[in-house]
Symmetry: C2
Subunit: 172 residues, 2 copies
């Protein structure tokens, strides 16, 4: 089965992201707006209980973090995906790194660029048009994320939450 | 904000439900297949933390329960919704009742008929056609549900998981 770990931002930021995703993201109906902390990985039923325990160990060591967005950016030309850029921070990097520890199986495939996707799977012309419109838009938002979710994917591509993990680490 | 409490069945049962929902349920893209334990209720940000605590008290007193389906049924003529009928049990009734305790705000609007919706919002002719096809179909499935999820609704109608609660009650 396919799993992933994400943070869902507040309703306010999700509603804003969906106002774009509705038109520009074919994954719109498969999952609500999110920031991925651990991309798709495979695990079977017996492995996942162990993995969930290890994720919980990680979230117990991390405290709630600030999710701050300022602008819209794009991964083009690597991939035609447009996103709310989330400001990188040491705590986010460390959280991402800990979620890719060897006790959690999969290694990170890419450098971690925290983001909330709002448009993807467009051809280059379409991408360039939309990005030209959106890149000047500010997305001035700040909130505290205090939990992560472990999800699994159904056959139709949609995602269901398996478990929620509070970021329980002591405040510094 | 609108909240609800549901149980998501296993991937296997969700995939089966989605094979129908894809065609017959306009809520298909808004939420993955689920059994509602506490229907839509309103709460603000300060109330929800208290409610979540009280839900957690309930789930800590209940143990994992058996979800068993055998057949497809319909709520017509009350409403044109077709569903996997979930066998009623004392523990399910008690769980539903506890989730409608006064410390949890809303009372149950209807008698509790545990079910997983697979078709809805059809006109009567459409409903009767589809139900005639499906009512003879067996849905012979049994599994253990060991967690509930508290969800909130976005402006576009889709649902995001806010928190997961393990059914932590001691085994009898």
């Amino acid at each position: 089965m396919k799993y992933g770990v994400v943070a869902f931002p507040s309703k306010k930021l999700q509603d804003l992201a969906n106002s774009y995703r509705k038109r520009y993201d074919p994954h719109y109906a498969l999952i609500t707006p999110h920031m991925t902390l651990k991309g798709v990985f495979e695990a079977n039923d017996s492995e996942i209980e162990e993995l969930a325990k290890n994720i919980s160990k990680v979230t117990n060591q991390h405290k709630p973090f600030k999710l701050q967005t300022t602008s819209i950016s794009s991964f083009a030309p690597v991939t035609n995906a447009i996103y709310f850029k989330v400001i990188q921070s040491e705590e986010l990097l460390k959280l991402h790194q800990d979620l890719h520890h060897e006790s959690l199986g999969s290694k990170a495939e890419y450098a971690f660029v925290p983001h909330i996707t709002i448009a993807q799977k467009m051809d280059s012309g379409e991408h360039d048009d939309i990005y030209a419109q959106l890149r000047m838009t500010g997305v001035d938002h700040e909130e505290i994320i205090d939990r992560l979710h472990l999800l699994y994917q159904l056959e139709d591509g949609s995602w269901t939450v398996y478990e929620t993990f509070r970021l329980n680490g002591a405040e510094n």
